[in-house]
Subunit: 352 residues, 2 copies
DNA sequence: CAAACATACGTTAGCGCTAACATCGCCGTC
DNA sequence: GACGGCGATGTTAGCGCTAACGTATGTTTG
């Protein structure tokens, strides 16, 4: 193997070998070669052996583009995403890729220039044009989500992390339950109420967390204090945290992600308000750095990897369903998990 | 334009329209349709108009798989990467995707299960089999890098962030210069020497930073203190930081990334050693959270987006070169930038 | 023992597109 | 006014593969 072209006449064209070449060497038709490759029965063991040997000798590699043309399936899936630099989307994408690999699919990405309906539509269009078998959309934004409802129906679509209420399957973490958990943790520690720094208003995830926060507060008979809206960045958490730090009534803050919680931590520190002794802070996501914040951050973990792999499975079965005419799969919710560290504590007793 | 199928005889097959269908409506051959699509001259304006109108009417979309089969170019590029969850690779990938989009290419990702020669080879193989026109490899690991030297030569390859010394183009940040800068900053502040927490020994980036750190120290006539090796995680920075915090002689620490620096910050804080008054700490990367660490982290910024887009340009020109027989492009180095914040300060004067 | 049926192949058509060549007017040229 | 040339188009061949059918052999069955 490797000395194959030593004593051979110059019958080796520069182009890579194709099925017919393999067939010629093995003494069979190109179709039999195809049968061997596709694991068809109806090929006698000796023939199969000769074909395999010929493939080895020539270093034959099947051309997947030709195969895609004739079968109409490219074994490629598209992922639409906005900012894959953020931990959440990046981890989800990673989970998707692993699962896709295992399922024999490739992932092609299309990131958005802007977070609006038109961009999402254009990205889906581009992917479809390229011949993907299905599309995953990681765009947890209100406006963008309903772009999915107007998307073409001839390619299976799955919304990841968040999506429209109906129409297409959605695979996401149970944000409401997560927010209820986080808020409840603070209430259980004895805090009178919990302040909330939300994400951008158009974010579906943020909306669900606000929902959970409100619901938990109301079920405890408390009136939710005014909500503050950030933009996921540590900077916005810091700015808003400074506002909160001036109000002595604030003893518990629930930030809608860990980065904003980091900003709050810093703001409280600068204002001389000790965390967790004077103020408790909780985040959301559980990014890898959270355990090393000062103090280590209590947060609500989202299992992004699970969301990724689960959404891939849903997409694959949607593709099967489309092919066989079966019923499309349903979405699913991944449970959130409360991670208690040192940024939350029982409420301090009022001074003398 | 939407009532097209209202009074029309049942001549609309369920399959999507192809060039021949467009040609039939426009009264031309499918080849003329092809010419219009590919912007060929030699098509009269009226004909072009009729073809365009027919395309519109039918909602024709070119089939890029068929095109790829006949042209031998898929306009798809592969990216091999290890952990796209980390900020560096994620940002680079993002930069690559943006540039690819602009250049009319798609990106398909192949992430590695393990960081070794075989995995890298297998990933390259998979991508090539899928028909990519070129491959970018973001695997700054010593062993994996030389897998690139044994890679097939019939598909252009570019190493991103780090790579072998020669053989294939490498696009990366100038790690050595960055480390020299960071170390120099500490020396300039009056520190007698600078301790270093490196990344994993097999990481090429870590190796270059160690190199820069040593060189700068030696050029200042200092003997580099023993080096400590971490694994990029905040945890390892914390563990190693605790060791350093016990040594009163340590006044300046250069961590090879921001996460480890975060761990050091935490370790120093717990040991009661004030940063920056007693100990200065500098990181590397400038992740978005760094300005909100306590204290805000001085670090060496890497422009990952620039690395991504630049490496894409290099790959595209390598593809052109292969096609036209021109000379392959060279790699390039992106400059690092020192970002001074509050975790570094002039060395404290010795006590009474 | 002919009919019926597997099994192991080969042959023929495409998939939808582009490349290469062929064809047909129509122009200016000498 | 016959001729070269060129612009605008049609025709013919594939790209490398799979699907569908055709055709030899054996193998069973009533």
């Amino acid at each position: 193997m490797g000395v194959a072209d030593e004593g051979r006449p110059p019958v080796r064209p520069r182009r890579p070998p194709v099925m017919a070449d393999v067939g010629r060497i093995a003494g069979v038709s190109h179709q039999t070669v195809s049968r061997v490759i596709n694991g068809s029965s109806h090929v006698s063991p000796p023939t199969r052996g000769r074909v395999l040997a010929a493939m080895q000798e020539l270093g034959y590699r099947p051309n997947s583009i030709a195969r895609a043309l004739v079968t109409g399936r490219s074994r490629t899936l598209g992922v639409v995403s906005f900012d894959t630099t953020l931990y959440g989307p990046a981890s989800t994408l990673f989970g998707i890729e692993r699962a896709a690999h295992a399922a024999g699919y490739f992932i092609i990405i299309a990131s958005l220039k802007a977070l609006d309906r038109a961009s999402v539509g254009e990205a889906i269009d581009r992917l479809q044009l390229h011949g993907v078998d299905g599309i995953l959309v990681i765009v947890p934004d209100e406006e963008s989500a309903d772009a999915l409802l107007h998307a073409p129906t001839d390619v299976p679509l799955v919304a990841v992390e968040a999506g429209p209420e109906s129409g297409i399957p959605v695979v996401a973490v149970d944000q409401v339950a997560g927010a209820v958990m986080g808020t409840g943790h603070l209430l259980d520690l004895g805090h009178e109420t919990v302040w909330h720094i939300s994400g951008p208003p158009s974010s579906l995830e943020s909306q669900r967390r606000v929902e959970g926060w409100r619901a938990r507060l109301e079920s405890a008979g408390r009136t939710p204090p005014p909500m503050l809206s950030g933009d996921w960045s540590a900077r916005s958490g810091y700015d808003l945290g400074r506002r909160l730090s001036r109000d002595r009534a604030v003893t518990a803050v629930f930030a809608s992600n860990d980065q904003m919680a980091l900003g709050v931590l810093r703001a409280m520190h600068e204002a001389g308000r000790g965390v967790p002794h004077e103020v408790s802070v909780i985040g959301f996501d559980d990014i890898p750095e959270s355990p090393y914040f000062m103090p280590p951050l209590t947060t609500v973990r989202q299992d992004f990897g699970e969301v990724g792999s689960r959404s891939l499975r849903v997409l694959v079965s949607a593709i099967e369903a489309l092919k066989t005419g079966g019923r499309p799969p349903a979405g699913s919710l991944v449970e959130a998990e409360l991670i208690v560290r040192s940024s939350t504590a029982v409420v301090a007793v009022a001074g003398p």
